[in-house]
Amino acid sequence: MSVLANINFNEEGFMTDKSQWTKDVAVEIAKQEGIESLTDAHWQVIEFCRKTGDATGKSPTLRTITDGAGLNTKELFTLFPKGPAKKVAKISGLGKPEGCV
C-alpha cells in the first residue's frame, strides 16, 4: 500500500495536516510531481522550506527560498521544474504559497 494512502490532501494537492509528513511521504509526492529522486540539493531546499513553514506558518515564496536556501532562481527551477515554490510547498507538506492571490 502506498505511503500516501492515509495522507489528507486538499483539492489542489496540498497536504492539510503537516504532522503526517515524513521523508517517505516527501519522496512519494515528489514522484507525483515528476521528480524521480530527491538529491541532497533537493533536500536542502525542502529542509529550508520546512523550517520557514514552522517559523512563519506560511510556505515561503520563490524569493524567500532563493534568498535563504543559498541557490539562484535558475538552479531552483532545475531542481523543481515549472512552479518551484508550489512544488516545494507540496513536497514539504505545507500549504499553497500566499503569493498566488
Binding site: T64, D67, T73, C100
Partner: protein
C-alpha cells in the same frame, strides 16, 4: 498638537485622508506626502492602448482631490525611522508623527528582468504606467498584425485581472480594426491557469478559448531575448513575439527598502486582519503597500478603509482592535464587445456565480458575462472620482464580503480544477 501622517496620496492614501479628516478632532494635524502632483485613475490605463480612454481621462490634480484640512507636502521621501516616529524628505525636511498610514503602493520594475528594457517602448511595452499605455496605443494604431504576447513576470501584481482584460480587449480591438485574423494572441502566465482561484480559472479559460487566445501556463519569465524575439522561461520554454507586452515584477516603494521595513519585494509585513504593521504599533497600511495576501487593487483598498478607520480609532484610545479585514475584493473584468464579468471574493471564498449586490436580482451577474457588468465598469470611473476617493460608502456594497446572491459550489466540476493545459 498630534500628527497623523499619510505617506502616498494615491487611491488608498486619498481615501484615508478624507475619512480621518472627518474623524479626528482639532487636536490632530493631518499631513500627506507624495512625490507626484498628478493622481492617476489607474484602472483606466487598461483602456488607453485601445484608444477607449486618453491620458486626459485618467489624470487629475492631487491637490483638488484632498480635503482642505489636510496639509499636502510634495516631495520625495528619503527615510522612515519608525523607532523615532520620524520621516525625512529628500530636501532635508523632517516630519514627526504620532500615527502613520503607509500607502506608498507598488510599481513595475522592468529592469529586474534581463533584456526587458533593451527595446523598451519600441516593441516591448508595459501598460501599468501612463507612458507605457500611451506608447502602446501609438504602436497598436499602426500595427499590421503578428504575434502579440502578454506575460506576467511574477506574482503578486497590482490588479491580477488586468492581464486577462487586456487580452479580451485586444481580441475586440483587432477585430474592429479588421486584422484579428493576422494577429496571434498569447498569454504566458506563471499561474497554473487563467486565474488564481480554481472555479474562476476554469470559467476564464473557457472565455479565452472562445476568443481564440492561447494560454501558456506555468511560464516563469527568466529573460527577454531581443535578437531572437522570444521570451524565455527558467525551464527554457520559449515563446516568440513581434510585440511583447509585459507586466514586469511589482515591488513596493524603494523608501520601504531604504528604511529596512519591507520583505524581499519591499512590502511591509502586516497583520492581514487588523492592517497594523507587524513591527510598529502606530504604523498601519492601506492598499498594496503591505504584504497582506489580497489582490493589490483599488477595490481592496476601499474595503480596507472601514476596518482601518475602526482599528486606528480603537488603538488611539488604547482599546483592543476588533475590526477584521476579510480580504474582500470586487473586480469587473472587461471582456470586450461591451461586456464584462464581475467577480467578488475574499481570503477564504473564491469567486462564485450568482447576482450582485442584490440576491436574485443583480443587476450585476457574478462570474458571468453581461452588458450590465460593462456599464458597471464604465460607471466605476465616476464612482472612483466622486465616491471611492472620498471614502464615501457605496450603497449595498459592504466592506465584508457577503454570501448573499452567491451560489456556493460544492466541488469543482473538473477533477483537477486548475489544470487547463491542452
Amino acid at each position: 498638537m498630534k500628527t497623523f501622517l499619510i505617506l502616498g496620496a494615491g487611491t488608498g492614501g486619498t481615501m484615508v485622508a478624507h475619512r480621518m479628516s472627518s474623524r479626528l478632532g482639532e487636536d490632530w494635524r493631518i499631513v500627506i506626502v507624495d512625490k507626484d502632483q498628478n493622481h492617476y485613475y489607474q484602472p483606466g490605463f487598461l483602456f488607453i492602448p485601445f484608444g477607449v480612454y486618453h491620458p486626459q481621462d485618467v489624470i487629475k490634480q492631487k491637490r483638488n482631490l484632498l480635503p482642505n484640512r489636510v496639509e499636502i507636502v510634495f516631495g520625495e521621501i528619503e527615510l522612515i525611522e519608525p523607532e523615532k516616529n520620524k520621516v525625512t524628505l529628500s530636501g532635508g525636511q523632517s516630519i514627526n508623527y504620532d500615527y502613520m498610514v503607509v500607502s506608498t503602493g507598488c510599481d513595475i520594475h522592468p529592469e529586474e528582468t534581463p533584456g526587458m528594457t533593451d527595446n523598451w517602448h519600441k516593441n516591448v511595452f508595459d501598460f501599468y504606467t501612463i507612458e507605457g499605455a500611451t506608447k502602446l496605443h501609438e504602436f497598436f494604431s499602426k500595427w499590421q498584425g503578428g504575434r502579440m504576447v502578454l506575460n506576467v513576470a511574477e506574482m503578486p501584481i497590482k490588479c491580477p485581472v488586468a492581464p486577462l482584460e487586456f487580452m479580451f480587449l485586444a481580441d475586440w480591438y483587432f477585430t474592429q480594426r479588421g486584422i484579428r485574423n493576422k494577429v496571434d494572441l498569447t498569454y504566458a502566465t506563471p499561474l497554473p491557469g487563467a486565474f488564481t482561484k480554481p472555479t474562476c480559472s476554469i470559467m476564464l479559460a473557457d472565455v479565452l478559448k472562445r476568443k481564440n487566445i492561447n494560454i501558456v501556463p506555468e511560464f516563469n519569465l527568466m529573460e527577454v531575448d531581443n535578437d531572437k524575439q522570444v521570451i524565455r522561461s527558467y525551464d527554457e520554454t520559449e515563446v516568440p513575439y513581434d510585440v511583447f507586452v509585459s507586466i514586469p515584477l511589482n515591488k513596493g516603494s524603494d523608501v520601504i527598502k531604504r528604511s529596512g521595513m519591507g520583505d524581499s519585494l519591499n512590502f511591509i509585513p502586516t497583520n492581514k486582519h487588523t492592517l497594523q504593521t507587524d513591527k510598529y504599533p502606530n504604523i498601519f497600511i492601506i492598499g498594496d503597500a503591505g504584504n497582506v495576501p489580497a489582490s493589490k487593487a483599488g477595490s481592496v483598498a476601499h474595503f480596507m478603509l472601514d476596518i482601518l478607520e475602526a482599528n486606528l480609532l480603537s488603538h488611539m484610545k488604547g482599546q483592543e482592535m476588533t475590526a477584521s479585514f476579510d480580504g474582500h475584493a470586487n473586480c469587473f473584468i472587461e471582456s470586450g464587445y461591451d461586456k464584462a464579468i464581475l467577480i467578488d471574493f475574499n481570503y477564504d471564498v473564491e469567486p462564485l456565480p450568482g447576482t450582485f449586490p442584490v440576491p436574485g436580482f443583480g443587476p450585476f451577474t457574478l462570474l458571468g458575462e453581461s452588458r450590465v457588468n460593462h456599464l458597471g465598469k464604465l460607471a466605476f470611473k465616476w464612482i472612483y472620482w466622486n465616491m471611492l476617493l472620498k471614502g464615501i460608502e457605496i450603497p449595498t456594497v459592504h466592506s465584508h464580503m457577503s454570501m448573499n446572491g452567491k451560489k456556493p459550489i460544492v466541488k469543482p466540476t473538473v477533477p483537477s480544477a486548475i489544470q487547463i493545459k491542452e
